[in-house]
């Protein structure tokens, strides 16, 4: 069957409308060319130099770290852990409207030894805090924690004898505010954690103010003096978190 193709004329009235690639841009003609090359590859017609060029163009090179953190960020195993009201909203995150499976995180593990994310969904009372700490200690590195809701980040609505803020006894990566936070808010927190894990976190002020590369470089003597002063007052020298 003969298919007639004709090249369309120059761009329509608004070349910057989204969703329609500008035919004048190099990407469009490249795309057609690459389509034809892919078709030839599948038929086995691509040979020699064209084949080599095709393979080079379709291979992505990256560092092992980036690849591993990309995989890690997309395959978290959260711990099935629900404390109080935020657990009801956490169940709604897992449910179909805001689907945790979209991020690949639907495989919740019941055992802390097999999980790598603990979501503190609810208020942590003084009786429960040692239990949570023990569960956190049982998790294997690399492990992350999301503190969901106001009650575990600070003590939320209840500022009294019975509650304790979670970052007093364990390190937390992302705090999600709300009482309880909407499932969409929790999804935002999840995306931020994922960015953090995949090292694509662009929330630092240098990125926001376009100031990357403006770090001050201290001279050797200043660094030595500062670490001496540090060691004098700090029990744990910088970077050692074994006691945390």
């Amino acid at each position: 069957m003969e298919i007639k193709r004709e090249v369309l004329g120059p761009a329509r009235s608004n070349p910057s409308s989204p969703g329609r690639p500008d035919p004048r841009s190099p990407a469009a003609s490249d795309f057609r060319a690459r389509q034809l090359m892919a078709r030839d590859l599948l038929r086995g017609d691509l040979e020699g130099e064209a084949l080599e060029r095709y393979v080079q163009e379709s291979v992505l090179t990256t560092t092992v770290e980036k690849a591993v953190s990309w995989a890690r960020g997309n395959s978290f195993f959260p711990l099935t852990f629900g404390l109080a009201c935020c657990a009801m909203e956490w169940m709604h995150v897992i449910a179909s409207r805001v689907d945790l499976g979209r991020f690949g995180w639907e495989a919740s593990r019941a055992s802390p030894r097999q999980a790598d994310l603990i979501i503190l969904s609810g208020r942590v009372s003084v009786k429960m805090a040692p239990v949570v700490r023990r569960i956190w200690d049982q998790m294997l590195e690399p492990k992350y924690a999301i503190s969901m809701g106001a009650c575990c980040s600070s003590t939320g609505v209840f500022n009294n004898y019975a509650l304790v803020a979670s970052d007093k006894f364990m390190p937390i990566d992302v705090h999600v505010p709300g009482c309880p936070p909407r499932p969409e808010a929790v999804a935002h927190g999840i995306i931020r954690l994922r960015e953090k894990v995949q090292n694509t976190d662009k929330s630092g002020w240098r990125e926001r103010y376009d100031a990357v590369g403006t770090e001050e470089v201290l001279s050797e003597e200043t660094i030595a003096a500062q670490s001496a002063a540090d060691a004098a007052i700090n029990v744990f020298p910088g970077g050692d978190t074994a006691g945390a």
Partner: protein, 169 residues
């Protein structure tokens, strides 16, 4: 609720049975309360259960600070046939916070009495399992008493943030 006269009749009956069981009655906005002496609470409740108030809905603890005797224990009774409620109040002081238990009459009062012990310190004699229920086992103090501080974190402002726990000195 039994109305005011009904309440008085019940109080008189119970007082006839046992002279120092009932210390008084309160009737306020359709709520009938019998004031009982702490040691006679099981007999009063048994008599009320025989009258038909067979269901002990709840056991509340109250701290009447600064009125003495400070600690009050309220029993809410419900008559399911006549749909009637009556309450029994007993007050003990903090120096001697002991009362007999009603668990033999109504096994469902076991946990509420443990909660009153946990929160106020009222010891129910004869209770099978007098332990703390909501607070950790080794907690000291009785949280719901009025002189126990609410606790919590102080709110940080610029004038007091120097002394907070996380500030790098």
């Amino acid at each position: 609720m039994p109305d005011a006269t009904g309440l008085e009749l019940i109080a008189h009956e119970l007082r006839d049975a046992n002279a120092d069981a009932i210390l008084g009655t309160e009737f306020q906005r359709r709520r009938a309360v019998l004031l009982a002496a702490p040691d006679h609470v099981p007999t009063v409740i048994k008599a009320l259960m025989d009258k038909g108030y067979t269901f002990v809905t709840s056991v509340h603890g109250v701290d009447y600070y600064p009125e003495e005797p400070r600690l009050g224990v309220l029993y809410e009774l419900l008559d399911m046939r006549a749909v009637d409620r009556i309450s029994v109040k007993a007050r003990v002081s903090t120096e001697d916070p002991r009362m007999p238990t009603i668990v033999d009459l109504f096994p469902g009062a076991e946990w509420p009495e443990r909660e009153v012990y946990d929160m106020f310190g009222v010891v129910f004699e004869g209770h099978p399992d007098m332990r703390r229920i909501l607070m950790p086992e080794d907690f000291e103090g009785f949280p719901q008493r009025r002189d126990f501080p609410t606790g919590g974190e102080p709110v940080l402002f610029t004038y007091n943030e120097e002394n907070s726990y996380g500030k790098y000195q």
